[in-house]
């Protein structure tokens, strides 16, 4: 299929490595990495996380797909990450193409380039990779010899801004659909690739689970809004559905997590204990698009934790999910694991954001066998009113009770996460964060009986996301966001009694505007992304590389002949009747329900969690044919012997 030779570029790359920063990130050779002969495989995937290696290598999505695909004897999956600008310049100078870190094969030689987008800020990095790989930037310029460029990850729920650059997008859980796509490509190649690229994309589109942007036309109204999105050839479905894995125990991946030599942002093994969340926080795209809740069983968790520790030697295991304390058997899981790993210097962590005292008990339990990490809670909103707007059902009493327990149990520092720029928010809502933090320190000093306790307030700008009740909301402009944050900072800093005990971390509002443009953008935003990239835009998720000025300048030029601009995409509130760019992409959520929830939000009306109250008809389960999959199972952790048990074979 490909015209690019699959031989290793390592000899050429090796000569460049002494000249760049942190060369280890480009050499591969991670523990548990897979190598296969090119010729022994028929379907070949290059998997990319479009950010630096240190960010990309721990990504669970990529690790899961890497393993699931490589378990197939005739399938090869290799990984590729963004190269830093020092190596990019040398690669251009010496004609070295974008390569995989596994066998250093050119990305252009693979059948599929699968990109996982956790965030929209990786879009410019995708363009660098395509360009270095020799793949035309525009999908319309590609021919049979080029890989299919496929986007996945949360940002793929609105891939319209990158529709010019990708051939296809997949929504939702990737495990099963990656194998289905592999099967289609395998058959297609076995038949001699009849009809070439166009026909392969057609076969993918006809499944109803792969979105091929080129097969849809977007028509606009004179005022710039979308008139309609229609399939432009027969056999293409009107709507494309997300994918949902229902039985997590049947997919215990990654079984052998990658252990990089280079330092990465997560130096630990991760075990996903459930997927989905129905807490119903209205700002949270992850919670909305991953419904319903599907738990991994206590026994499945126990096996995966032990397997990961054995396979990696990591000192820490994170129990991942969107709200880990909500697992129906979390208490038994925590106690069982703490018992099993007592005395082995193994830490267990729960990236917990729920504000209640039960979390502290869990944290105490988990820190028994290893190091104690910090405690983090996310009240998200400063006032009771704004927390009702966002459906974060936490009262001030809840928070104070929780931190009282924490400080009483010997924790010295808690971190509190908030957002600024939420719908209906006023200065006062944000200033109440300072009041809350003061109350936390005051209570903490009382229960701990000492003055050296601390609380860190971390706050960033809110970005409305597709497929959430806030998808219609106006985003707050960055000037107002920054002014509000400055008022909060001054309010905290000027407090003589408590100010020094409160840390304040914030992200300014400018990157949020670009994220907002890319999150809720449509096909016209592709031109902005390309202009920014051509102007040198790279690594937009890194503050030292991000240039707001460049994004605004390029957007103005690229959208000059259109009736829309950055404000139109970001700070404009939408009406119910407006066709949204992602309306033809089905996350299972009923648009009427989302609108009702948006209206409830404006009226300060809260919605319960459907795991313990009746269904409130968000639409996902009937639409997707799925169901809530939760325990309790009543089972126990298997009494496995913990790591370090191999010592008898080493004794003198």
């Amino acid at each position: 299929m490909s015209a690019v030779k699959a031989e290793s570029v390592f000899p050429r790359l090796e000569a460049l490595l002494p000249l760049v920063q942190k060369p280890i990130q480009y050499v591969g050779g991670e523990l548990n990495a897979v190598s296969k002969e090119w010729e022994s495989t028929t379907v070949r995937w290059a998997l990319m996380y479009p950010d630096a290696y240190e960010i990309g290598v721990p990504n669970q999505g990529v690790q899961i797909l890497y393993e699931v695909l490589n378990e197939q004897p005739d399938v090869l999956a290799e990984r590729t990450y963004s190269v830093w600008s020092d190596l990019e310049a040398l690669m251009r100078e010496h004609g070295v193409p974008q390569f995989t870190v596994d066998a250093h094969r050119p990305v252009g030689a693979f059948d599929v380039l699968g990109l996982s987008f956790s965030t929209e800020l990786g879009y410019t990095n995708m363009l660098t990779a395509l360009d270095l790989a020799g793949i035309p930037l525009h999908a319309s310029d590609r021919s049979d010899e080029h890989p299919i460029v496929l986007a996945g990850g949360h940002a793929a729920f609105n891939p319209e801004p990158i529709s010019a650059f990708i051939d296809a997008a997949v929504l939702g859980d990737g495990e099963q659909v990656a194998l289905e796509i592999t099967g289609l490509i395998r058959d297609f190649k076995a038949e001699g690739s009849p009809g070439g690229r166009e026909q392969l994309l057609m076969r993918l589109a006809q499944t109803g689970g792969v979105y091929v942007p080129a097969f849809y036309d977007v028509e606009y109204l004179p005022d710039g809004r979308i008139k309609r999105v229609v399939p432009n050839r027969p056999g293409v479905p009107w709507r494309v559905s997300k994918h949902t894995v229902t039985d997590l125990d049947a997919w215990p991946y990654p079984k052998k997590p990658l252990v990089p030599l280079a330092e990465s942002v997560h130096e630990r093994a991760s075990v996903e204990i459930f997927r989905g969340c129905t807490r119903g926080c209205r700002f949270c795209q992850a919670g909305m698009i991953t419904r319903p809740v599907r738990e991994r069983s206590i026994t499945g968790i126990g096996e995966m934790v032990e397997q990961a520790l054995q396979a990696t030697g990591f000192e820490e295991v994170g129990l991942l999910s969107l709200s880990s304390a909500d697992h129906s058997e979390i208490k038994e899981v925590a106690k069982g694991l703490a018992d099993r790993y007592e005395g082995t210097n193994t830490s267990l962590s729960l990236p917990s954001t729920r504000v209640d005292a039960f979390n502290i008990d869990l944290a105490n339990e988990l820190s028994r066998s290893g190091r104690r990490s910090g405690l983090t809670f996310a009240p998200e909103g400063g006032s009771e009113r704004i927390r009702r707007v966002i459906n974060k059902m936490v009262t001030e009493e809840d928070l104070i009770r929780t931190v009282t327990t924490a400080y009483g149990a010997g924790w010295r520092q808690v971190k509190l996460y908030f957002m600024c720029g939420l719908p209906t928010e006023t200065d006062d809502d944000v200033l109440q964060i300072a009041t809350l933090a003061r109350e936390v320190i005051k209570t903490g000093r009382e229960v701990a009986g000492r003055k050296d306790i601390r609380c860190t307030v971390s706050i960033g700008g809110f970005v409305p996301k597709p497929h959430t009740p806030f998808q219609w909301a106006a985003q707050l402009d960055h000037e107002t966001t920054d002014a509000r944050l400055a008022k909060l900072r001054n309010n905290i800093r000027d407090d003589r009694q408590y100010g020094k005990a409160i840390g304040f971390r914030y992200h300014d509002g400018k990157p949020g505007i670009v994220e907002g443009l890319l999150s809720r953008g449509d096909r016209r935003v592709s031109a902005v992304i390309e202009a920014v990239w051509r102007d040198g835009g790279r690594f937009d998720g890194w503050s030292e590389h991000f240039s707001f000025e460049r994004w605004m300048r390029c957007a103005e030029q690229a959208l000059a002949d259109k009736p829309v601009d950055v404000d139109w995409y970001t700070t404009r509130e939408r009406e119910f009747s407006e066709v949204l760019p992602w309306d033809h992409l089905d996350s299972g959520l009923d648009k009427d329900w989302l609108w009702e929830d948006w209206q409830d939000s404006l009226n300060d009306v809260e919605v319960e969690d459907c795991r313990w109250t009746p269904c409130f008809d968000c639409g996902v389960c009937p639409q997707m044919g799925t169901d809530i999959e939760i325990g309790p199972t009543g089972k126990q952790l298997l009494p496995l012997t913990a790591i370090g048990a191999g010592v008898e074979t080493l004794r003198a």
Binding site: V259, A262, E315
Partner: protein
């Protein structure tokens, strides 16, 4: 009530083991910190009963000595680990080697004799491959450098640029002809350098060769540490630092002490 470090049963050290390992091929691009992390994880996977420090953040007791800089390969890196049970050095060698990624290879493990490992690592023998440089060019430059008694070079340290003498610690330096891994002809330098402060590294010697004789390799050289240990003042050669350990225990069997 001040928070106390958790009271843990800190198992006593019953044995110290010295490890010689190699850093080969593409893994020469690992930094010392990368190797530390890889080693700690490999020790856990291998089930080695490490002694830990006490306190809030217990660390396994490992002492590293004179690690080669990032970018240099090595056949002679050394470290010492403290364990809480008496172990067979040879079994530790095999299982630790299996637990490390290929390219970080454990060559030998011996039970430590009294004395500090660092004191034994007095000098290093290096091999420096210079692709696209002729042996004659290299020999001329070497002769010019060795004729000097002092050659000051500058290197960027964490604290800023620092100037020091790169000539005095050089015990031996000779040029020869050879071929690179890909079969291309190249000049090969062999040198024995006494460990000084700051340590004179192969790149400092290359800087000195450039300053004294204008030798400028067109492509980055390939540097390998061949040996590290006590220096024999008579012959100017580097001896095996684990010889004394081996003699005092007697039962350690080296897998392949000199793989080249």
């Amino acid at each position: 009530m001040a928070r106390q470090p958790p009271v843990r049963d800190v198992a006593p050290i019953v044995q110290k083991l010295r490890v010689r390992y190699a850093k080969r091929g593409r893994l020469r691009f690992t930094s010392h910190r990368d190797i530390q992390r890889a080693l700690e994880r490999a020790l856990r996977r291998a089930g080695v009963p490490m002694a830990y420090s006490a306190g809030f953040t217990p660390h396994p007791k490992i002492s590293y000595a004179g690690a080669a800089a990032m970018g240099s390969a090595s056949e002679a890196e050394y470290l010492e680990i403290s364990v809480t049970e008496r172990l067979s050095p040879d079994r530790v060698r095999a299982s630790l080697d299996a637990a490390l990624p290929p390219g970080l290879d454990v060559i030998e493990v011996v039970e430590a004799a009294p004395g500090a490992l660092a004191d034994l690592l007095q000098a290093s023998e290096w091999q420096i491959e210079l692709p696209d440089v002729s042996a004659g060019q290299a020999a001329e430059a070497v002769a010019a450098l060795m004729a000097e008694t002092e050659v000051e070079v500058e290197r960027m340290m964490k604290s800023g640029p620092r100037r020091f003498d790169a000539r005095e610690p050089i015990v031996r330096l000779a040029a020869d002809s050879g071929t690179t891994a890909s079969g291309a002809p190249c000049a090969i330098l062999r040198t024995v350098v006494r460990h000084a402060t700051p340590a004179v590294r192969p790149d400092d010697i290359l800087t000195a060769l450039r300053q004294v004789a204008g030798l400028t390799p067109p492509v980055p050289p390939m540097v390998t540490r061949l040996a590290q240990g006590p220096i024999d003042p008579e012959s100017g050669t580097v001896a095996d630092p684990l010889a004394a350990d081996r003699a005092s225990v007697g039962d350690a069997v080296a897998a392949d002490p000199h793989p080249r």
